[in-house]
């Protein structure tokens, strides 16, 4: 895993050390990134979406997709019981078929971290928590940092932070940069280890693809371990073109710095067919290096059931129905 120190070292080696020295230098760097042609990007994402994944490749992709899921419940109505049920499902997604892989993580609000942590005791399923005044991010920095520290103290393995879209859109990139580095610092635990930091852009609010590329680089420069499309709480969440663009950004970042960053599309990915398209994008853009829960995740709540139903179909040769998978 990359750490802040590792990032800083390799960034220095790649000539990126002074990029965040001032607002002006950071802006110059981000605006100097290659542009994104909307038509071309969307056409490429659509073409990748036409790959036909069948039989053995499909079986492989379904299991891979299940193992990449951040099984999520982010509702105001969440209860201890609901989170426990979700954790049980994450450990054992298909009670009728023990060969189904477990999910990567359970994603909850900070106040549910301890519950999830206890329920997942004895497994290597991660507990991810959305902190920093999720989903709007409209709180002062001390409040956000307290939110993060709270979740980390409760045992969160991963922190999903939202960036200040207002600051980003008004061009105050340095402020966003400093906020990410501060959150990264707050992810540190007393024993010297740190929770994994996922930075959420809310790409549906960033309006342009150029902004998505800039946000990706900004977060990676500031020490993000993962970059994530969205909160799932707005009208437009993860889309194939946005995800493709972020995949290209992490590819270019590793080429320049040697540091590998993960990618997490979140929100709106509901079907096996959708998930296959994302895996194809990862496969053909980044290759095998990123085809692991370590480097690619799906933020989803309803995707798992569709994957399980498709999995049952491959195993039995017959379609089952929604009553053959569990509802939570």
């Amino acid at each position: 895993m990359s750490t802040l120190a590792a990032n800083a070292t390799s960034a220095a080696g790649s000539g990126l050390a002074d990029v965040a020295a001032s607002e002006a230098s950071l802006r110059r760097f981000l605006h100097g990134l290659p542009g994104v042609d909307q038509v071309g990007l969307e056409a490429r994402a659509a073409t990748l979406g036409t790959r036909s994944i069948k039989t053995s490749a499909k079986a492989y992709a379904i299991d891979l997709a299940i193992s990449m899921i951040d099984l999520t419940t982010l509702e105001g109505a969440d209860t201890v019981g609901k989170v426990r049920a979700l954790c049980t499902k994450g450990r054992n997604p298909d009670p009728t078929d023990q060969s189904a892989p477990r999910v990567a993580a359970i994603c909850v609000y900070p106040d549910m971290v301890a519950t999830a942590k206890a329920a997942l005791n004895g497994t290597d399923i991660q507990v991810a928590s959305v902190a920093t005044a999720f989903p709007a991010g409209r709180a002062s920095l001390p409040v956000k940092l307290a939110d993060v520290a709270d979740a980390v103290a409760a045992g969160a393995d991963e922190i999903d932070m939202v960036i200040d879209r207002g600051a980003f859109l008004s061009g105050r990139y340095l402020s966003v940069f400093h906020e990410i580095t501060a959150v990264k610092a707050a992810c540190r635990r007393p024993d010297g280890t740190a929770a994994h930091l996922k930075v959420i852009f809310e790409t549906g609010e960033l309006q342009t693809y150029d902004n998505v590329r800039r946000a990706s680089w900004l977060a990676m420069l500031a020490g993000a371990d993962f970059i994530k499309t969205s909160t799932g709480k707005v009208a437009v969440n993860a889309t194939p073109p946005v995800t493709l663009l972020m995949l290209e950004a992490v590819r270019d970042f590793r080429q320049q710095t040697g540091v590998q960053i993960g990618v997490k599309p979140a929100g709106g990915i509901k079907t096996t067919k959708d998930a296959m398209k994302y895996l194809v994008m990862v496969n053909e853009t980044l290759g095998d290096d990123w085809l692991s829960p370590h480097w690619f995740r799906f933020g989803a709540s309803s995707l798992l059931n569709d994957l399980l139903m498709q999995r049952q179909k491959l195993t039995t040769g017959r379609y089952s129905g929604p009553d053959y998978v569990t509802v939570d």
Partner: protein, 492 residues
């Protein structure tokens, strides 16, 4: 039902990679292919007057698909006579009536698009992904588009009540058999002409299937006639004294011969010939999309595209970055069975074409250019050529001047926009060009300077029935598509 229970197959993970399992389209979807075909004349399938027959093979397997007739002068004569007889009634129909037939043909093409896509893929060797997603939708779109013009010719800008020319003799190539047919037949019929079309000798099957569609649509007999055969049949058609209009798409040498043949006659002629397009990438280009555009520009349809972006002109400052990205992208191209839905690059259309590509690439190496191809396996039978990149190419190399018509890209560099223009225009051809830059003013400036019929900006190989297509210099003359495409079939 335990006996139906099967264990999910072992995930395929060769050398740690996500390998797509084969996803083959069924060859049976192409419908019945007869063992031998005659011509389609006067609304009927008829035998040839001669006894010579040619064979069409599946370039991916080298298996013979069918025999078809080598059209004789007598066959051409019969077809032209049938078209002439049909012309009287067809040209007298109100435009709105002709439109009904064209709309009907367009709808049938859509309904039978899977069948046509598979048949095209088998006969031509191009991947099903392209016939399904590009060729067939465009074929239908051309018929729809020109159907819309049939009753609006008074408003096309050629004066009131423009008249059709008569019988159109059309000769089309093998790279887009059905699409070239649509480009030629749709405007000809919309304007009230009747046609005799000769498909290429390596790809006659979809044209003959189209003849069935004409019958299904109830098109009056003789309005569309298909005569098959090789260049001899084509020459008989273009030189036939009762043909009023000749439309040819193909190689520049053949186009030149037709132009000579027709000089001094009253026949109207349009020629769509070769190309050697420059795809120009500036240092401020959207690099990821430019790489896609370069790939699409030269590897689409195995590079069998007259407007292919076969010369990459890349600004020196981003040469390494672009080439690295391009090679990385080329590594992911999947070459193989055209009927597999995941195939990006299919088979070379014929042994002859493969030989020409092989010869020209050998010349490239001999002249000192550096050759690179991704490490992909090619099938054992059939005609295949790896996607190939040449760096260190100069204007004086043969591979920078001659049309290769295969998946071979020559890379040149430039330092200033003026140098890019100079190199791009320094070719006998002038069919198409591409410009990649985020600077709008430079796109407009370049488009004005480039001597090419089509200039794409931040994209490549985009076709649309509403947009005219055609060349400068040795790429031919006349335009197809759009309102301009009507002119070739009207007496204006």
């Amino acid at each position: 039902m335990a006996k139906n229970t099967k264990k999910a197959e072992e995930p395929v993970r060769k050398s740690g990679l996500f390998e797509y399992a084969p996803a083959p389209e069924s060859p049976a979807a192409a419908g019945d292919i007869a063992t031998s075909y005659g011509h389609f004349i006067g609304g009927e399938f008829v035998d040839s007057s001669g006894s010579e027959a040619l064979k069409t093979v599946n370039p991916a397997t080298e298996q013979v698909l069918a025999e078809f007739a080598q059209g004789t002068e007598e066959d051409v004569d019969r077809a032209v006579a049938a078209a002439r007889r049909a012309f009287t009634d067809w040209s007298a129909l109100p435009g709105s009536e002709r439109a009904k037939y064209l709309f009907r043909i367009a709808r049938i093409i859509q309904e039978r698009s899977r069948e046509l896509a598979v048949l095209e893929s088998i006969d031509n060797g191009k991947p099903i992904r392209e016939t399904r997603d590009v060729d067939l939708p465009l074929v239908a779109a051309h018929f729809f588009y020109y159907a819309g013009w049939a009753d609006k010719l008074d408003f096309a800008g050629y004066g009131s009540n423009p008249r059709p020319l008569g019988v159109a003799g059309q000769v089309i190539p093998w790279n887009f058999p059905l699409l070239m047919l649509a480009w030629k037949i749709a405007p000809a019929l919309a304007t009230g002409n009747t046609v005799v079309l000769k498909p290429a000798e390596t790809t006659p099957l979809t044209a003959l299937r189209f003849a069935e569609i004409c019958r299904q649509a109830g098109l009056p007999k003789g309005v569309v006639n298909i005569v098959t055969g090789d260049g001899r049949t084509g020459a008989a058609l273009t030189s036939h004294p009762d043909v009023n209009k000749v439309a040819f798409t193909g190689s520049t040498p053949v186009g030149r011969a037709i132009a000579k043949q027709l000089a001094g006659t009253r026949k109207k002629l349009s020629l769509e010939l070769g190309g050697k397009a420059a795809n120009i990438v500036f240092d401020d280009a959207p690099i990821d999309q430019a790489v896609e555009g370069i790939v699409n520009g030269i590897f689409f349809n195995q590079g069998h595209v007259c407007c292919a972006g076969s010369r990459l002109l890349v600004q020196e400052s981003v040469q390494d970055e672009v080439l690295d990205a391009l090679k990385r992208r080329m590594d992911t191209l999947r070459v193989g069975d055209p009927l597999d839905k995941n195939t990006d690059i299919g088979a070379i259309n014929s042994a002859a074409q493969l030989a020409r590509i092989t010869e020209l690439t050998a010349a490239g190496e001999a002249e000192g250019a550096e050759r690179w191809s991704p490490s992909c396996d090619l099938p054992g039978t059939g005609f295949w050529f790896k996607p190939t990149l040449f760096t260190g190419v100069s204007q004086a190399h043969r591979i920078a001047r001659e049309e290769i018509f295969g998946p071979v890209l020559s890379v040149l560099t430039f330092r200033t926009p003026a140098e890019a223009v100079e190199k791009a225009n320094n070719t006998p051809y002038g069919l198409s060009a591409g410009v990649w830059t985020e600077k709008g003013s430079r796109i407009l400036w370049m488009a004005n300077q480039l001597k090419a019929g089509v200039v794409w900006a931040n994209t490549f190989n985009k076709f649309d029935p509403t947009s005219p297509f055609g060349g400068y210099k040795e790429s031919g003359y006349g335009r197809e598509g759009g309102r301009h495409g009507l002119e070739a079939y009207l007496d204006v």
